[in-house]
């Protein structure tokens, strides 16, 4: 599923990685715990999190995750956006709760990891 379609469905605001909007994702993983994200071995995964800090971006970088949806209307600072750009990560700000965001996306072709 394309990033542009995902962002539209969750009424998300794209903050970085505008060149990758046609990139298609197959899997999604939701967690506020970066230690959990770092155990993910699957590729082509997008991350849904409520953690709005620089470590969420770093974790995605190390895990080869190229799209992060930050839920609960959290502010994404310039440092996060710059690092996301540098790491070729599309950052999407979403005003919905984690529950609502995951609910909407679960109903699409995106698959859970387990």
């Amino acid at each position: 599923m394309k990033i542009s379609e995902i962002a539209k469905l969750i009424d998300g605001e794209i903050k970085s990685g505008f060149d990758n909007l046609d990139h298609k994702f197959e899997f999604a993983f939701a967690s506020d715990l970066m230690s959990d994200v770092l155990t993910v071995k699957q590729s082509n995964v997008l991350l849904i999190t409520g953690l709005a800090n620089i470590q969420a971006i770093r974790t995605a970088e190390m895990s080869d995750i190229h799209c992060i949806i930050v839920v609960r209307n959290k502010e994404l600072n310039e440092e996060m956006i710059e690092l996301a750009e540098e790491c070729d990560i599309t950052l999407i700000k979403c005003k919905y709760s984690m529950f609502k965001t995951v609910g909407i996306l679960y109903d699409t072709v995106l698959k859970p990891l387990y």
């Binding site: 506020d32 715990l33 970066m34 230690s35 959990d36 994200v37 770092l38 155990t39 999190t49 953690l51 800090n53 620089i54 470590q55 969420a56 770093r58 974790t59 970088e61 190390m62 895990s63 080869d64 440092e79 790491c87």
Partner: protein, 139 residues
């Protein structure tokens, strides 16, 4: 062989991951297999976070050979009182600040071990901790 040396400041969460990022770039330039790069940088990133979160600071020495990468992470204490316990998934002594950063669930050390081919952890209270790991480029 290439050697890189880095310092890690205690409590510097803003820069935690910058060493892993540099190593990732270097390994990519050397065309190392993507899965090996991912395992290596996940292990190194977890290690960086551990030094930032739990120690008085430390240093990382990275050696890249033709067939493997060897990484030594040394901190200046306080040390791990019980390594077996620290290696138990779910055991953590992390502060609330560390947990706010998305870590501190007692998963770091077991995850480092899972992502490395050779893993050696030694610690002495009052002196410090030395973590050495190796990842081979071919299976």
């Amino acid at each position: 062989m290439m050697e890189f040396n880095f310092k890690i400041e205690s409590g510097d969460f803003t820069n935690a991951g910058s060493i892993s990022s540099s190593v990732k770039r270097a390994l990519k330039q050397l065309n190392v297999d993507g899965s090996v790069i991912k395992r290596t940088v996940v292990a190194l990133y977890e290690s960086e976070v551990n030094v930032v979160a739990h120690s008085h600071g430390g240093e990382v020495v990275v050696n890249i050979f033709d067939d493997c990468i060897k990484i030594n992470i040394t901190d200046s204490g306080p040390g791990i009182p019980d390594i077996e316990k620290a290696m138990t998934q779910g055991f953590s002594t992390a502060s609330p600040e560390v947990r706010e950063m998305g870590f501190g669930a007692g998963m770091g050390l077991p995850n480092i071990k899972n992502n490395t081919d050779d893993f050696d952890l030694k610690s002495e209270m009052g002196v410090g901790t030395v973590l050495k790991f190796v990842n081979y480029f071919k299976a």
